[in-house]
């Protein structure tokens, strides 16, 4: 066996291929403002232009520096787009103009810039991504402190946290990163000469920022980043070219986020570790019943941390656990082949201290259970800055909750005292405590742990006040009473804790049951849906009710424009233009857009693509009453579930439609073949006789006797008439098929119709004695010509299939409303299993060779014509079981009496 040759890694090749249609991104990376990135960028642009590249300056900030401005001269500059913001006009990159201009290379300064609200994207790097997608090369600039994962590090070095960051994975997509290096001394010099632009608002903080120590550290960071980037390039090249090397194993790093204020810091730390190890990483939060009791801000912090993880190139996952968070985490970690765990040490402040008395911290149990993992415990600093209005709102909400709890506690303790009072001389002191414990249990169930604790203390005080000597004081004189009180307090706290936990678990179970139920309900609804419309309606309703929002589903119309197809509670009358743009964006990019996302965040609606395995089929729009609700993992999970179901349903409907279409096609194909066969056979057969007989006569040199001549002529004539009838049938069939048959109904004597049919078939029927039993007074309300044709067809069949000499009987009966016309022959009969099918188009009873030619048209037309009159046609065996009897059931005509005659 020869060793397997070194094959290029498919993933790496794919990444290369994906780059093929995109523009190339070059980033000038600097350690700090003022190192000359913009200058370098412009020099590069000039060089490229000299080389014949079409260069456009889309946006460059000169910050009033003359050397930089001088470099701009002679380069095509794109006008900026001015957007109003807080009463001022802000000049931003005109993305649409740039996309329309389509140069080969665009210069866009400040990679990390945040756009004015109302722009298409929240961040400039998103604009740049779109420009690259359009196939335009881009050159841009960024400082090291704007790199997302270094944000913490820089903040800890300089004490300044910048808000504008570029996600690492975006930076990683750059094809080239060029480091603009300047020694701290040179930079300090430039600063002194006023060559560095310092934003006014930065003020004092920036003075510290440009200290030599800081600059040195930043420079080192920048150098390290650029160096690691070189590493990555080499690695990528090796992989895509199949060069053997020490490949990283498929390890994974998992970071557990539980503490809201430190979650983001933890995410950044995890990202750096994963980056260094070059392994994929996952950020996880675990939703527990307790999670529900967290404040809105804390939940938002966790959500934001997950979003951050996604922008940093990690995977964000939300798990659910009823009680054992650690077990859930570890199970998930094992499932995902995780080797390294990153967890934060819980801060011990506030309630956390108290809570830890009662509950073993999750992280300790994680460490205990994580025997086979490499565990890193990080002690992060809280970075959550409390915003004043939010705090006030939270406090107000909390006060309301506390007030309610206090009030209920007072009520419950009063009732408990009232209940215990008459008992206190009858039962031992300890037993009275049970009454209070019961009260504490109640409060705990309603208000959770905090309520239970308040209840326990209140109960303790009341118990002490009323039932321990000295009565009506809080003083205690007996030692045993002290012991009893202590036991009471401990029991109350314990009971309350249990009750609060019970409450949480019940609530969480209810919530999960509700989710399951609605999802099940939804699945059931769409499983029974037969139209795509029903599926979409069910989806819209499900999303709206589950997320407590308004929902919309948009699908492209034939021209590719998105239009609303379903909505809950209803379709919107008109959408904001921003919404329309966001929807279109979500649809074409297969990414969420609108409210709460990075793209068009000012749009009132949030749009999420509705994608099947193959393609995006539409977008789902949601509008939250509560603006702070966004696309968190919970929402995303729900939308994904809905998408899956809808995709399956739509696929199923499509499959059904395809099946039906192919069945119809097969059917019509069969019919076409039968028609072709019938036409070629049934047109030719009579023509053979006609041509044969006539050529016989034409070639006659006088040898034919008059009898032969008559016989030949009669044959030609009979066959020509047969051909005429066949053509008539074809015409009738066509008109029946197209529904183009107009009935000219009139009351007519059935005997007349039968008489005309017999006359038309005089020759074919010559060999059969015909008995007619049609009373004169039977009238039918039909089109005499068409029903005449039907009778002709039945009679012709009888004449054709019944042996010569056998009688054909035509009889009619009526009950006043309908008339039954029976035409019976003594032929071979129709097998019972065929008695329905003989009326199918082109169906012929198979009876071996030698039977007279049939067209398979005649009876089908009989049925068509008779049914067009509201009648019915049946085939059954003859009276004594021999031969065939065809029954035509026709509407009877009312007797007419008004003669308009005055005798």
């Amino acid at each position: 066996m020869s060793p397997e040759p070194d094959r290029p890694d498919p993933d790496a090749l794919l990444a290369e291929a994906r780059k093929a249609g995109r523009g190339r991104l070059k980033v000038f990376l600097g350690a700090a403002p003022g190192v000359g990135k913009t200058y370098a960028m412009l020099e590069e642009a000039r060089a490229r232009r000299t080389a014949g590249v079409e260069v456009v300056v889309a946006l460059v900030e000169t910050h009033g520096r003359p050397e930089t401005a001088a470099l701009l001269e002679g380069l095509e500059q794109l006008p900026r787009r001015e957007l109003p913001y807080k009463g001022r006009l802000i000049a931003e990159l005109d993305l649409d103009a740039l996309l329309a201009r389509r140069p080969q290379l665009a210069l866009i300064d400040e990679f990390a810039h945040t756009n004015v609200p109302g722009s298409r994207h929240a961040k400039r790097w998103q604009d740049i991504m779109e420009v690259l997608d359009a196939g335009i090369d881009v050159v841009t600039t960024v400082n090291i402190q704007h790199v997302e994962s270094l944000n913490d590090v820089v903040a800890s070095i300089t004490g300044v946290r910048v808000q504008e960051t570029v996600p690492d994975d975006v930076l990683a997509r750059a094809d080239d990163i060029e480091l603009i290096d300047l020694t701290p001394e040179a930079l300090a010099e430039r600063l002194k000469e006023g060559k560095v632009y310092v934003p006014d608002q930065a003020g004092l903080a920036l003075d510290n920022f440009f200290s030599k120590g800081n600059l040195t550290a930043l420079r080192e960071l920048a150098l390290r980043t650029a160096a690691s980037r070189v590493d990555a390039d080499v690695l990528a090249w090796m992989r895509s070219h199949g060069v053997r090397g020490p490949w990283p194993t498929q390890d994974r790093l998992l970071v557990c986020l539980s503490d809201a204020p430190t979650a983001k810091t933890l995410v950044r730390a995890a990202r750096r570790m994963a980056d260094r190890a070059r392994i994929p990483w996952i950020a996880v939060t675990v939703l527990t019943p307790r999670h529900e009791s967290l404040g809105g801000e804390a939940r938002e912090n966790l959500r934001a941390a997950l979003r951050l993880a996604e922008t940093l190139g990690g995977e964000a996952v939300q798990l659910h656990a009823e009680s054992d968070v650690a077990a859930e985490l570890l199970a998930y970690a094992r499932k995902r082949n995780v080797t390294r765990l990153v967890i934060g040490r819980p801060r011990t402040a506030g309630w956390g201290v108290v809570a830890r008395w009662f509950r073993e911290p999750v992280f300790r149990r994680l460490i205990d259970g994580a025997g086979d993992f490499e565990v890193t415990v990080v002690t992060p600093k809280s970075e959550a800055r409390r915003r004043k209005p939010a705090v006030a709102a939270v406090l107000a909400r909390r006060w309301r909750a506390w007030g309610q709890a206090a009030f209920e506690t007072a009520a419950v303790i009063t009732i408990a005292t009232a209940v215990a009072w008459p008992l206190w001389r009858l039962v031992p002191l300890g037993s009275l405590a049970v009454v209070y414990l019961f009260g504490v249990l109640l409060i705990g169930m309603r208000h959770g742990l905090a309520g239970a604790l308040i209840g326990a203390v209140a109960g303790f005080l009341a118990y002490n006040f009323f039932f321990t000597r000295p009565y009506f004081t809080f003083a205690v004189e007996q030692e045993e009473a002290i012991a009893a009180l202590l036991v009471f307090l401990v029991s109350a706290v314990f009971t309350g804790t249990l009750a609060s936990r019970l409450k949480m678990q019940v609530e969480s179970m209810r919530a999960s049951q509700r989710r399951t139920e609605t999802l099940y309900d939804f699945a059931r609804k769409i499983a029974s849906a037969t139209k795509a419309d029903d599926v979409l309606w069910a989806a819209a309703a499900h999303i709206a009710t589950t997320l407590n929002c308004r929902s919309l589903i948009l699908m492209p119309d034939p021209d590719g424009r998105l239009e609303q197809v379903q909505g809950h509670p209803s379709i919107e009358e008109s959408l904001d233009p921003r919404d329309e743009m966001a929807a279109q964006w979500a649809f074409t990019r297969n990414e969420p857009a609108g409210a709460g996302t990075d793209t068009l965040p000012t749009a009132p609606w949030l749009f999420v693509p509705l994608a099947t395995a193959k393609n995006v089929i539409g977008v789902v729009g949601v509008w939250f009453r509560d603006r702070s609700q966004t696309l968190d993992p919970e929402t995303r999970r729900l939308l994904t579930a809905v998408e899956d179901q809808v995709a399956v349903a739509v696929e199923r409907l499509k499959l059904t439609a395809d099946l039906e279409a192919s069945r119809l096609e097969a059917e019509s194909e069969k019919l076409r073949a039968a028609l072709l066969n019938s036409v070629s056979h049934d047109l030719r057969t009579p023509l053979v006789s006609v041509i044969g007989a006539l050529t016989g006569l034409a070639d006659d040199d006088g040898s034919l006797d008059p009898e032969d001549r008559r016989e030949l002529l009669a044959t030609a004539l009979d066959e020509a008439r047969r051909l005429d009838r066949f053509v008539q049938n074809l015409l009738d069939m066509t008109r029946l098929g197209y529904g183009a048959l107009t009935l000219r109904r009139a009351p007519v004597a059935l005997r007349e119709i039968v008489g005309r049919a017999r006359a038309d078939l005089a020759r074919p029927l010559a060999g059969h004695p015909v008995e007619v039993d049609v009373p004169r007074d039977i009238h039918v309300d039909v089109d005499p010509v068409l029903i005449g044709q039907a009778v002709i067809n039945v009679l012709e069949n009888a004449a054709k299939y019944a042996p010569p000499g056998t009688p054909v009987r035509i009889a009619a009966t009526t009950n006043g409303a309908i008339v039954t016309l029976t035409i019976a022959d003594r032929g071979p009969g129709i097998p019972p299993e065929d008695s329905e099918r003989v009326f199918d188009l082109f169906y012929r009873v198979r009876q071996g060779d030698g039977q007279p030619a049939g067209t398979g048209l005649g009876l089908a037309i009989v049925r068509g014509l008779v049914e067009a009159h509201g009648g019915e046609v049946k085939a059954r065996p003859g009276e004594d079981g021999r031969g065939t009897a065809i029954e035509l059931i026709l509407p009877a005509a009312l007797p007419e009496t008004d003669t308009g005659d005055f005798p």
Binding site: A720, D724, Q728, L731, R735, R744, A746, P747, V748, A749, R751, E752, V754, G755, R756, R758, A759, V772, V774, R776, D783, P784, V785, G788, E896, T897, D898, T899, G900, D901, F902, P903
Partner: protein, 230 residues
């Protein structure tokens, strides 16, 4: 055949094969033939040659058949026999309403065509010297005395029944449309009351001993009218 001079038939028909066989068949029945392959030339020939009969195909390439009928009717009462296919009932009736006298459904037997042409000629000539007594097979109608006999036996008819039978008899062998019958017998106000006609015909048949299933005297042309067998 007693006609000394062959009646001249103008055939307006675009199909060469049909014209060819008519050119052979018609003279054998005592007709002289003139041909036109277009409606317009047909109208010209009808004006210039004053034929005794016109045989007109309704499916002409250059103009609508009933327009040809109407054009000829502007200045001539020459009998017009229309050739039509079975499915073109509406067209056929329109042509009859425009002034055509009878129709033959394609494909037709030569004998049938001859009979129609002769019936048209006959009723035209009969119109000149109105004979008071009409004879059709066993049926005899005395118009002046309003007496009908079948094989010598008198048949009692109501007034309307007699009028209907008399009208059919005056045009024996020729189609008489519902409209013509209703207008003549019941008056123009009753052209839609075809049921009067159906009942009258039913009574006439009963009284004459005629069988609708194999009529001897009154033949139904479904949806169009009746004719008395010649």
């Amino acid at each position: 055949m007693t006609e000394a001079v062959a009646a001249r038939v103008l055939v307006i028909e675009d199909e060469v094969a049909i014209r060819r066989f008519l050119r052979i068949a018609l003279p054998s029945g005592g007709f002289a033939v003139a041909e036109a392959d277009r409606g317009r030339t047909g109208i010209e020939l009808a004006a210039t040659t004053a034929p005794d009969l016109v045989l007109l195909d309704l499916g002409l390439p250059d103009m609508d058949g009933k327009a040809v009928v109407a054009a000829i009717r502007e200045w001539s009462q020459v009998p017009i026999l229309v050739l039509s296919v079975r499915d073109a009932e509406a067209e056929k009736i329109a042509a009859l309403d425009a002034g055509a006298d009878d129709y033959v459904t394609k494909p037709f037997a030569t004998g049938e065509l001859m009979a129609r042409l002769r019936a048209l000629l006959r009723s035209r000539r009969a119109g000149a010297g109105d004979s008071p007594v009409l004879q059709a097979g066993r049926l005899r109608i005395d118009l002046a005395r309003r007496v009908v006999t079948v094989a010598g036996a008198e048949v009692k008819l109501t007034r309307k029944e007699f009028d209907v039978l008399a009208l059919l008899a005056r045009h024996a062998g020729r189609l008489v449309t519902h409209k013509q019958l209703l207008t003549a017998v019941w008056g123009p106000a009753h052209v839609q009351d075809t049921h009067y006609l159906r009942i009258a015909i039913g009574h006439i048949r009963d009284k004459l001993g005629d069988d609708a299933g194999a009529p001897e005297f009154v033949v139904t042309e479904p949806g169009v009218g009746y004719r008395l067998a010649p």
